[in-house]
């Protein structure tokens, strides 16, 4: 609307967690594919613990859990739900999202698993346009995430209504219905 500015982002620098918070270089721990969970021993002694190698992959993650569930001291959840953010350069040549046209399709909502968010022009935290990928979903304990963001400097926080637009797209990805007999295309 003319004369009004709807900012996309704000800066956050404390241990509050809100939906839309973007945490850079957040660790993602990936268990080995062949982990035999049933054989894991737990005798209580450090010498006899099973040793399991996990892959550690840093990623830029955005908080998808609802803000009301993350209020400090009144958390309704034990884990924060997170999805990764990718830039155009993160995609391999030939892939749809390696091309501007692919980003335009994603921006229009043609790719259910991807949601584009704007570039951030705030001086302290400039960022290029990113796409949130709902096909990868991670979770970390709330306390872990609070400590992590508290240790870091500033981070960007997606503001309403862009935040709600993201959560709506996230919900839509998980409520897709494949019709067994679809309506024929109109020509």
């Amino acid at each position: 609307m003319e004369g009004r500015e709807y900012l996309w982002y704000a800066i956050a620098a404390d241990d509050t967690l809100e939906q839309g918070d973007i945490v850079l270089d957040c660790p993602v721990f990936v268990p080995p594919d062949n982990l035999d969970v049933d054989s894991l021993a737990d005798s209580g002694s450090a010498d006899s613990l099973s040793e399991v190698p996990f892959d550690f992959k840093p990623a830029n993650l955005i908080v998808l859990s609802q803000t009301c569930d993350l209020v400090k001291g009144r958390e309704k959840v034990q884990d924060v739900l997170l999805c990764p953010l990718y830039k155009q350069s993160d995609f391999k040549e030939g892939e749809e999202l390696a091309k501007p046209k692919g980003w335009e399709n994603a921006r229009k909502g043609s790719f259910p698993a991807y949601h584009v968010i704007n570039a951030c022009e705030l001086p302290a935290c400039k960022a290029e346009p990113s796409v949130v990928y709902f096909g990868q979903v991670f979770s970390h304990p709330v306390s872990f995430m609070r400590n992590l963001v508290d240790q870091r400097a500033e981070r960007i926080r997606l503001l309403p209504p862009y935040r709600e637009h993201l959560s709506q797209a996230f919900a839509r990805f998980f409520m897709r219905v494949g019709l067994p007999v679809d309506i024929p295309a109109f020509k």
């Binding site: 737990d42 399991v52 996990f54 892959d55 840093p58 990623a59 990764p84 749809e96 999202l97 043609s110």
Partner: protein
């Protein structure tokens, strides 16, 4: 002949009401039905008395006023209201029946104050926390495997 059958759950809802309120509700409905019957008959293309009712309709009005509402508790059933005097010649609820049905509506559980939508919502603070599952302790060695990358997606339209 038309039979109006009240849903059994409606009777249950009424039973939740406190007795004083229920008495008041019943007397309101009985009085209001007679009044609404009069209103429903306005404009009916029938012979009318000086009070606006046909003789048959006047008899029906008396019958309605005497309906026992104790039948609402359980599986209530209102016997038909003869529609011959006011019917338009089709088998559908007459104005009388419509007026009665409009008056008889499920009452909210909380009748002493205005209906509060928020009170119907689940209070999340009261939801108990999820019980923690059994934990096992393992020794995890972390190995850096590069930044997380998007997996190949040949058909992002789906």
């Amino acid at each position: 002949m038309t039979t109006i059958t009240m849903d059994a759950s409606f009777g249950t809802a009424l039973q939740v009401q406190s007795t004083p309120r229920l008495d008041g509700l019943l007397s309101y409905v009985v009085d209001a039905v007679a009044h609404e019957f009069d209103s429903a008959c306005e404009g009916a293309a029938t012979k009318t008395t000086s009070r606006g009712l046909t003789d048959d309709e006047a008899v029906q009005r008396e019958n309605l006023a005497g309906i026992s509402f104790s039948s609402f508790f359980g599986a209530p059933e209102l016997e038909s209201l003869s529609t011959t005097s006011v019917s338009q010649g089709i088998q559908e609820p007459c104005e009388t029946e419509k007026a009665m049905l409009a008056l008889i509506e499920p009452a909210p559980v909380n009748v002493s104050q205005e209906f509060d939508e928020d009170s119907e919502m689940l209070d999340w603070d009261m939801v108990s926390k999820v019980k923690e599952r059994e934990k096992k302790t393992v020794l995890v060695t972390l190995r850096y495997a590069g930044r997380l990358k998007p997996p190949p997606d040949p058909d992002p339209w789906t």
